[in-house]
């Protein structure tokens, strides 16, 4: 197995608040790595640091052995890294197809090719019937799938997914899980942030657990689930709440 993403000691501070403290993890080619942690654990910040959306205070990010630390977001995307956003960002005044075309245009300048690739991506996320709607008219779950399709249309090597199953109709969750597994089957490497622990146990090859910006566990799902620090920080409170 070859290493695709290698994250070393990422640190991000906002004044006195440390959002990420020396977070280290790696992702192998074709692997699904899940990131868990309570709200405010620094999961989305970690995505922002890896993809260049926020400047980092310390640490290094290597993609396929190349140092990509501090590159602009569009440069990192150009290296084959797609991402979705927790707070959805579809292009509201473009149709669904046009949204996804923008993703496909990362790899081609031919509008016809881009349109056909966009339609394929939309077929994959099962949203073809909405293709001529404007993105602002869609439900949250549909907009999540637009974002996913938009990223996939880039034909990335690696995709960072921020809560694909969060805030959607629970009946659609199994379908989304199958979708992610099929993506991996096609050779895509995936890092996914998830709150739903059952989903995570089914999806992830390895899990990174964050708490207060720090890595508290990283390893196989069953090991991470039993890890005392994880139980204490995350699962314990969830169990108490339930």
């Amino acid at each position: 197995m070859s290493l695709l993403l290698d994250v070393k000691g990422l640190t991000k501070r906002y004044g006195g608040l440390t959002a990420n403290a020396e977070v280290t993890f790696d992702v192998n080619q074709g692997e699904i790595v899940g990131i868990i942690g309570p709200n405010g654990a620094g999961k989305s910040t970690l995505f922002d640091l890896i993809t260049g959306f926020q400047p980092l205070d310390a640490g290094r990010v290597f993609l396929d052995g190349h140092d990509v630390t501090g590159l602009r977001p569009d440069r990192i995307a150009g290296l084959g890294v797609a991402r979705t956003f927790q707070k959805l960002k579809p292009f509201p005044d473009l149709t669904v197809t046009e949204n996804v075309i923008v993703g496909a245009l990362a790899r081609t300048a031919d509008m016809k090719v881009a349109r056909d690739q966009a339609l394929e991506a939309l077929a994959f996320v099962d949203l073809l019937d909405k293709r001529n709607s404007f993105a602002r008219e869609l439900s949250t779950g549909q907009r999540k799938r637009v974002e996913l399709a938009r990223g996939l249309a880039m034909h990335p090597r690696l995709i960072l997914m921020d809560e694909v199953t969060g805030g959607v109709d629970q009946r659609t969750v199994p379908g989304l899980v199958d979708l992610v597994l099929e993506l991996r089957g096609r050779g895509l490497t995936i890092v996914t942030i998830e709150h739903n622990m059952q989903v995570m146990m089914r999806l992830a090859d390895r899990i990174l657990a964050l708490h207060a910006g720090r890595r508290i566990a990283f390893g196989k799902p069953e090991d991470v689930r039993k890890d005392p620090a994880v139980v204490d920080a995350y699962l314990g409170t969830a169990a108490d709440a339930a």
Partner: protein, 336 residues
């Protein structure tokens, strides 16, 4: 379903009524000087066409890349001064001046855009407003280009097409303005269907998402500003040749920057035909209010503009044409 979707045309075909409307409009525009024969009607249409081009230029930056420029008069003035200085001082044909003006405007767009287009939100608008007034002051003090008294285009009756000035009829000016506007609208029509145009619309709405899809935000904004500046410059050269008097007070006025904004917002920013519609409404409004109210009409037209803009903001904040254009776009293919 995928096969059916692939079989759809890449671009929605306009419905018959729209094609009919377009063909009728084209014929009317071509025949206009022979249908309406008064000098005043020619003058009015020349202004409408020039403003339609200027508003479209503004639309490229604001409507597509989402940056509100309040300094577009800079490029208008550069266009007028480039051709006139070259002709008055060196006898060079205004056709060459037109190209030089476009080049200088493009360079000016880079010089202004590179530092300011990194600014988000309203800072770009404020920066361009201030740079616009500074440029005006420079031209008002710059002796080589006539300072505050401006420049006159030297009269030459020997070769009207070479010197781009016509003293017996406004009709040639009409066709020049029509050709320039048509070229500008054709360019934007192509732009909207291009990779570049899609990327501009993406970064306008969601810059973060656009960046995550590999779009270099700052570079795209500067490129849009360059194209826009060159378009505005063409209108400036034509205007200079039309009025034959260059007054820095007027050419570089914030009023010009703002009126192109008003036209575009009124007609529909980000649409193809919105700027033309806005020009077709506001130019006659301004000219007639000047006639009806005499010299004081200038303030009256501003009041009417204000009322119109308020109505549009309340009734259709995205401009008169936005609804229509979206309907046409949604019609992609025949599938439900």
């Amino acid at each position: 379903m995928l096969e059916a979707a692939r079989a759809e045309p890449l671009w929605p075909r306009p419905p018959l009524w729209a094609m009919g409307l377009g063909a009728t409009g084209a014929v009317l525009l071509l025949a206009f000087p022979f249908i309406f024969r008064t000098s005043f009607s020619h003058h009015m249409m020349i202004l409408i066409l020039m403003y339609a081009l200027m508003a479209q230029s503004w639309n490229v930056v604001a409507g597509f890349s989402g940056q509100i420029s309040l300094g577009h008069a800079i490029f208008f003035g550069i266009g007028a001064y480039s051709s006139t200085v070259l002709f008055a001082k060196y006898g060079i044909t205004p056709w060459a001046g037109l190209l030089v003006g476009m080049l200088i405007s493009t360079l000016a767009a880079v010089a202004i855009g590179v530092p300011t287009l990194r600014l988000r939100g309203h800072y770009f608008a404020i920066a361009t407003l201030l740079i616009g007034s500074s440029v005006q002051i420079v031209f008002q003090r710059w002796d080589w280009v006539g300072a505050a008294s401006g420049l006159y285009v030297p009269i030459d009756r020997t070769s009207p097409w070479f010197y781009l000035q016509f003293h017996t009829s406004k009709v040639p000016y009409y066709y020049l303005a029509l050709a320039a506007a048509a070229a500008g609208y054709f360019l934007v029509w192509k732009l909207r269907r291009s990779r570049f145009g899609f990327r501009l619309q993406a970064l306008r709405d969601e810059p973060d998402a656009a960046a995550s899809l590999g779009i270099a935000i700052a570079r795209h904004k500067v490129m849009a500003f360059m194209i826009s500046g060159a378009m505005m410059s063409v209108a400036g050269t034509l205007y200079g040749q039309y009025v034959l008097v260059l007054d820095p007070e007027r050419l570089f006025s914030a009023e010009i920057s703002i009126i192109v904004l008003l036209m575009t917002v009124l007609g529909g920013s980000g649409t193809l035909w919105g700027p033309a519609l806005g020009a077709a409404i506001l130019v006659p409004l301004s000219e007639y209010s000047r006639i009806w109210f005499g010299g004081t009409g200038r303030t009256v037209d501003l009041i009417v503009y204000g009322i119109l803009i308020m109505l549009v903001c309340m009734w259709r904040p995205r401009g008169i044409l936005s609804l229509l254009e979206e309907r046409l776009r949604r019609r992609a293919g025949s599938a439900p």
